[in-house]
């Protein structure tokens, strides 16, 4: 089953004031999909491919498996579009389906693959400082402050090799940090949308995002030194 009874977005609170608002489908992507606009669909799969692949690879072992999950997600979207009520944004709905697909595929994978090849760095450390304590003096002030990156040429920051470093750093994150970093910083969701998609608290979302970004920063600092 792709859809559990739990939807990946919150219900309207029962104390909601005033009449129930039925959100009109004003999202241009949604309008275009409903009118079966081929160019709009092509643009949509292009725009979300990177974030969807990154997210799927949080759950699945390789690119091929992640691509299969992305494909199944789009097929499911088409098949169930007429049931989409617009209670969340189209984008949240699509990524919610991807989460369901990827998680369910991982459950199947985990039955055939050796345990150690999955679940690497599963939980992740959510405590402790994100900066090496040896970089601060007894007074808590920097003793080894970070370099300014303002003298790193932009061409270097934006080159392919730096991009690969960043992708590798994201993939090394503990999975719970990785999924939050991908949804926030790669897919561009707001904090409360991420909390709803992953069913986690604001506090959890913030801790995981902070730790994830701090790890990527550290990798970059070593690389750009």
């Amino acid at each position: 089953m792709l859809f559990s009874s739990r939807t990946p977005w919150p219900e309207e609170p029962s104390t909601y004031p005033g009449p129930r608002v039925v959100r009109e489908p004003t999202d241009p992507d949604l309008e275009a999909l409903r009118s079966k606009d081929e160019a709009a669909f092509e643009a949509l799969i292009g725009r979300y491919h990177g974030p969807m692949m990154r997210l799927a690879m949080t759950y699945l072992r390789d690119r091929g498996a992640a691509e299969d999950a992305v494909q199944e997600t789009w097929l499911t979207c088409l098949k169930t579009l007429d049931r989409f009520e617009g209670r969340s944004s189209l984008k949240t709905w699509i990524f919610g389906i991807l989460l369901n697909v990827a998680r369910s595929r991982r459950r199947k994978e985990s039955r055939i693959l050796p345990f150690t090849s999955l679940f690497r760095r599963e939980g992740g450390d959510d405590r402790g400082p994100t900066v090496d304590p040896r970089r601060f003096g007894k007074d808590g002030m920097w003793s080894t402050p970070p370099d300014s990156w303002s003298n790193v040429p932009e061409t270097r920051l934006l080159d392919r090799e730096t991009g690969e470093k960043v992708k590798a750093a994201i993939e090394q994150l503990p999975s719970k940090q990785r999924e939050v970093v991908i949804l926030r910083d790669v897919a561009g969701f707001e904090a409360d949308e991420v909390c709803a998609l992953l069913s986690i608290s604001q506090a959890n979302q913030r801790v995981r995002l902070h730790r994830g970004r701090a790890s990527v920063r550290k990798t970059l600092e070593e690389y750009l030194r």
Partner: protein
């Protein structure tokens, strides 16, 4: 506030989750501290470089399959 504390508040600062009082203390510190300003700039850079991981073209075979699926969905 010490630098050690300030670095742990940076994501909350960027997301606007600090209380007005904490935000003011945070900004006071940052204005007088080159190290924390550099660190904050690095975090911002890291965030925008992470965002670039979104740029990935759909492989042609997958695109072809999806467009075929779209066309048969369209005509159904």
């Amino acid at each position: 506030m010490t630098c050690r504390e300030v670095v742990e508040l940076m994501t909350d600062y960027l997301d606007g989750f600090l209380s007005p009082a904490d935000r003011a203390r945070f900004e006071d510190h940052i204005h007088g501290c080159d190290g924390c300003r550099a660190y904050l700039a690095q975090l911002r850079t890291a965030r925008s470089l992470i965002g670039r991981a979104a740029d990935e073209p759909v492989p042609e075979p997958l695109k072809a399959e999806l467009m075929n699926a779209f066309r048969s969905w369209k005509s159904s």
